[in-house]
Chain length 410, copies 2
């Protein structure tokens, strides 16, 4: 008898028919003898409707009260799911974040979970009930309602799984797992049976929007086995697991887990700055002061005592960053500031590449064969990212998918 | 500096514009130096929408979960009102029933308030904040969310006023006070400046749907001065007050406070039952077992050792009661069971009639003058009710309003 925490997102509970479908699924798991804790999001569209109400009063609603408002979205879903379960004769009980006591800090709208009281849930499970918990919300020490920010229901599910020492945390969504890359770009893209937490983190942060990054980090930190699967079709999904276990089980490890890509970025280059200590800080300090996040950062070896410094930001921040750099260019002694928004980032991700040489050269070769010029390169232990012209995005992803034979099971 | 509890119903907070209007009103009171606690209902239509969702799953939703669902309606309003107050620079903080700690019993869907924790609200008021509380909801001892049943927000407001020892509890609604009768029937109907709790109870239970009966009872019991007034137009409204204070202030007491009427009832008669002890119970026992409420009950002196027994029920229950009576008729030894749904009840209500003879005869005379036949009569200390054919309802109300000169201030 296993203890399973399941999370169903907004699309999975988007209308009454779908909520009843989730009830059927939950009952199916329970029939196998498992204990089930279910975490649900607000019905799709509901959070936006509530934000619309608040914004109808003021563009900057009071953060505490915004959380009081938004928390109702998940509260509606927990009640409806329990009603659907009880109707089917399955004993169930709903819990708001405050009722479980999911204790968070008091950073309204983006609170972090600090502690979860598991005893009430355990008692319900022991009494044979399904426990249905509102995702995305908690309470601070003073009993104020808080929310974890968008997508926080994944984090709730993982945190509950950790607190309950669950055997598995299942994230139900509208895709049936994690793919080697986006099937809309590469029709041969293959669902992965397993992926490591590290790989998943790189895949998620690079634009494969299956899971909240925070929830993956949390799961990895607390050793919670995480499975992504579809609400709408049967299948094993993708298990996100620990490297050790993974390596022990598979004789030949896959070199590359998948290819992530991202076209939300823009690059900026400060040309001809003096090649001296502190220059990186002088350039990025004002950007960071403006609360703008920087992704890739590249500085090559200097020439003639000057160097070129390039970095990427979210495309929405491009104009602001360009302005900041121009303001500081003279002071930096820079020759010129330039930028480009028509770029795309392609990333190969794989735990396996750590111990295999030649991945990078094979990647560059595959891109060269298609005549794709590489503008920037950045590498980490388990990832190689390149920036190319946006128009080459799809071609590049397909070329890499084929070159690394990702359509075939290793 | 007074402490005022205000309650705004669903129509008063029916959209964002109206919520902003309520914020302005609250700020107006606060500007006078008063401490203000505001109780709000769900936005009009919201509770019905939520019930519709639950009923979309099953006609008999789990009671505990229905309360979890319905409680979100008021939670949305408290957040939006606080957002509107804070936007105007007025410090405000929202409280759900559970956050205040409005402790109720665990009768889901129709819980009763047992205790209110006033300390958190007092601290907020002392800190200069407006406190906005979700009406209609509480928590039981185990922390389960409960609701007080329809219209329960009035009860919340009165209970908070009692717990806080407020100077006045103001119920804002879409009418500007309590009238001598329905102005749609009698254009000359006059707004009462004051009415006693007892009169208000009789008026409310007889169909003048300005206030929840339970909240009036509660206010009377806890000596909370209650004022009904309009959200949409300025004016003093009607103060519902204690008889003693009332009598001391007014030299000449008004004989009649007003005329209530009701066309929701149906009457049933069991003819020719044996005139012996226990017969009333034999007839009404099965009706009460079916959870049907009985209003007027009349049994006249018997003839030939049999008697006729008549009572009224809500018109929706008529068919069921008729069936029950027919099932039991033989066993009762009754000659016949008959009934009529085309009836109306008119009631004169007034503390004054207690010490004045002749009110009843004046009433009967006024009705006789218009050729209205009286089918049933029932009296209490401060009320005389008659049942007439439904078609005479308006004529009867107008005749009585004129006969007792209710359009003139006494």
């Amino acid at each position: 008898m296993a203890l399973i925490v399941q999370k169903y997102g907004g699309t999975s509970v988007g209308n009454l028919e779908r909520i009843e479908n989730v009830a059927e699924k939950v009952i199916g798991w329970r029939a196998r003898g498992d204990h089930v804790v279910v975490v649900v999001s607000a019905m799709s569209g509901e959070t936006d409707r509530l934000i619309g109400l608040a914004k109808g009063i003021t563009p900057r609603p009071d953060p505490r009260e915004l959380d009081v408002l938004l928390a109702t979205g998940e509260q509606v879903t927990i009640a409806l799911l329990c009603i659907a379960l009880e109707k089917r004769g399955c004993p169930a009980r709903s819990y708001t974040g405050g009722q479980v006591r999911i204790l968070t800090d008091n950073a309204f709208n983006k609170a972090r979970i600090q502690e979860i009281e598991a005893s009430a849930m355990r008692a319900e499970l022991d009494a044979g009930r399904v426990v249905v918990v509102a995702g995305f919300q908690g309470v601070d020490e003073d009993g104020n309602i808080t929310t974890l920010g968008r997508g926080g229901s994944d984090t709730t599910a993982v945190a509950l799984a950790a607190a309950l020492k669950a055997d598995e945390c299942q994230i139900y969504t509208d895709v049936d797992g994690v793919y080697t890359t986006d099937p809309r770009v590469v029709p041969e893209a293959r669902r992965l049976n397993r992926i490591t937490f590290e790989e998943m983190l790189e895949m998620a942060s690079l634009g494969s929007k299956v899971l909240q990054i925070r929830s993956v980090e949390f799961a990895g930190k607390h050793n919670v086995p995480l499975r992504v699967l579809s609400t709408f079709q049967e299948g094993p999904g993708t298990l996100i697991t620990f490297e050790e276990a993974f390596e022990a089980e598979t004789m030949e490890k896959e070199l590359i887990a998948g290819i992530a890509f991202n076209r939300d970025e823009a690059k900026l280059t400060v040309l001809g700055v003096p090649d001296r200590p502190g220059i990186a800080f002088s350039i990025l300090g004002p950007v960071s002061d403006a609360n703008i996040e920087v992704d890739m950062i590249i500085q090559n070896i200097g020439r003639d005592s000057t160097t070129d410094f390039t970095f990427t930001v979210h495309r929405n921040d491009y104009e602001r960053v360009l302005e900041i750099l121009k303001q500081h260019a003279a002071q930096l002694g820079a020759r010129e500031v330039s930028g480009d928004t028509k770029i795309a980032k392609l990333s190969l991700v794989g735990i396996g590449m750590r111990s295999h040489a030649g991945v990078a050269s094979r990647m560059f070769q595959a891109l060269a064969k298609e005549g794709i010029n590489i503008r920037m390169i950045s590498t980490s232990e388990i990832k190689i990212s390149v920036v190319v012209d946006e128009k080459y995005l799809e071609l590049g992803v397909r070329a890499l998918h084929e070159a690394f034979e990702l359509d075939k099971v290793a």
